[in-house]
Assembly symmetry: C2
DNA sequence: CGATGTTCTTGAACACGTTCAAGAGCCCGC
DNA sequence: GCGGGCTCTTGAACGTGTTCAAGAACATCG
C-alpha cells in the first residue's frame, strides 16, 4: 500500500491528516457554510483538486469531524460512568457527557444534522459508512446497561442498549434544535427524562403489562434495528 | 392587494402558481437535485431571476410542494375517516392516507427531509414559516381523536393530538428511510403500531400508572410542544 | 541507470444556487 | 395624457461544490 514499510504515515496519509485538521479548525471558526473546500485546501496548503483526491465530497470530509466527536463522547462517558448505579443516572451521565463534548460545536450542529439526515449521505447514522460510529455509540449504551442495577423484563433487558441508542438520538435531536443559552433545556430534558425512563423500564416486569410490552418488542424487532432498510 | 377586484389570481399569483406547478412536475420527474432553478424557470416560462422574485430560495419553492402534500393528506384523511371508530384504526387510516399521497414522491423524500432538518430552513417543521403546515397537520390529528371512541386519562386526551402529531413525524421519518418496495414496511409499521398505540393510550386510565403517566405528561409539557425553542 | 506504472498534484472548467442593478409593464391621481 | 410609484421581469455576474485531463513525483523492476 505504501512505499516505505509498515509506517502508518505515508506521504498521502500526512496530506490527508493536514486536510482534516484544517477542516476542523475552519469548521469551528466559521461554521459549515463558511468552511469552503477552497478555504480548506488553502489552509492545508494543497490545491482544490487535491483535496478532492482524498475526500470524495465535502460530506466525506466532515465525517472526520463526526467520528472524532463520537470518540470524545465515548471517552467522557467511560470516565464518568464508574460508580454511578441506577439506569436512569447512568443514562443521564452518558448524555450529559455528550452534551459537554458537543457543546462547542452547537452552532453548526444544525447544518451537520441536516447533511446527516440525507439517507444518501455518508454521514447518515444508518448508512454503511457510519457503521463504526453507530457501533461505538451502541457500545456506550451497552456499558450504561451493563453497569446498572436495573431489573426489567428479560427481553427488554436484551433490547435495552438499542432502545437507549434511539433515546440518545432523541436527545441529539432535541439538542440540535435547542436554542436556549448553553443548551440548558437539553440538560433539563436529560435530567428529568432519565428517571421517568428508569421507571418505565421497571414497569415492564409487571405481569399485567406483559402482553403490551411484548407487542411493543415484537414491533421493534419486526421493523428491525436497521430501521426500514430491506 | 390586487389591481382588479376580489379575484384571487392577480398577475403575480398566476406566475407564482405556474412556477410551483413546474417545480412539482420536475421534482417528480427528476428528483430534487435534478430540479434546478434554471430548469424550473424554463419550464414555467420565466427567467431565472424572476423565479427568485417569487421564492427567496429553492427551499422556499419546495415548501410550496410541501404545503400541497399536506393538503392532499388532509383531504384524503377527511375522506376516509368517517365511519372508522377506534383510535388506532383512525390513526392508521390517517397515516395510510399520507403514505398513499406521498408515495409517488418517495424517491426524493430523503433530500426533502434533509433540507427540512436544518433548523434554519424555512421547511423545518418547527420553524416560523411552516406554522400553517404544522397547524394543518395537528388539525388532522385533532379530527382523528375527536371522532374516536377512545377512553383515556383526561390530561392524555387533551395532549393526544400533539402526541399523535409526534407519532406522525415518526412515521414520516420511518417512511423517508424505507427502502422496501412500495414502502411496504412503512405500511406494516402503521398497521402494527396503531393497535399498540391504542392499547397504550387505554392503559393511561389505570390508577397504578397514574404517577408515571403524569410524570411523562409533565415532562412533555415542560419541554413544550415547541421543542427546545425559548 | 532507464523505462514503466502508480500515486499524488494541479489549475481550468462546469453547473448550480443566489444576488443585483437595470428596465418593462402597469395603475393611480392629476 | 402624463408623471410617479408600484409590481414584475430580465440577464449578467459571483462564489460554491465538483469533475477532469494533464502532468509531476515517486516506486518498482529489468
Amino acid at each position: 500500500m505504501s512505499s516505505k514499510d509498515g509506517e502508518v504515515t505515508s506521504k498521502g496519509e500526512q496530506t490527508r491528516t493536514r486536510i482534516v485538521d484544517a477542516a476542523m479548525t475552519l469548521l469551528e471558526e466559521r461554521g459549515y457554510d463558511g468552511t469552503t473546500m477552497r478555504a480548506v485546501a488553502d489552509a492545508a496548503g494543497v490545491s482544490l483538486g487535491n483535496a478532492y483526491y482524498y475526500f470524495a465530497s465535502k460530506e466525506h470530509l466532515v465525517q472526520g469531524f463526526y467520528d472524532r466527536l463520537q470518540e470524545l463522547h465515548a471517552t467522557a462517558a467511560a470516565e464518568r460512568l464508574p460508580g454511578v448505579d441506577g439506569l436512569g443516572a447512568r443514562f443521564a451521565t452518558s448524555e450529559l457527557a455528550f452534551l459537554d463534548a458537543a457543546g462547542r460545536y452547537h452552532r453548526f450542529a444544525g447544518k451537520m444534522f441536516a447533511v446527516a439526515a440525507d439517507p444518501s449521505s455518508p454521514l447518515n447514522p444508518l448508512s454503511e459508512a457510519s457503521t463504526p460510529a453507530r457501533d461505538a455509540s451502541t457500545q456506550i449504551m451497552r456499558e450504561v446497561v451493563r453497569g446498572s442495577t436495573v431489573r426489567a423484563d428479560a427481553r427488554v433487558l436484551e433490547e435495552l442498549p438499542d432502545l437507549l441508542w434511539l433515546a440518545h438520538l432523541g436527545v441529539v435531536l432535541f439538542w440540535v434544535y435547542d436554542s436556549s443559552p448553553d443548551q440548558r433545556r437539553s440538560r433539563l430534558l436529560v435530567t428529568k427524562a432519565s428517571p421517568v425512563l428508569e421507571r418505565l423500564v421497571g414497569l415492564t416486569r409487571w405481569r399485567a403489562l406483559r402482553p403490551t410490552v411484548n407487542e411493543l418488542l415484537d414491533l421493534v424487532a419486526e421493523l428491525g434495528g436497521r430501521s426500514a432498510g430491506r
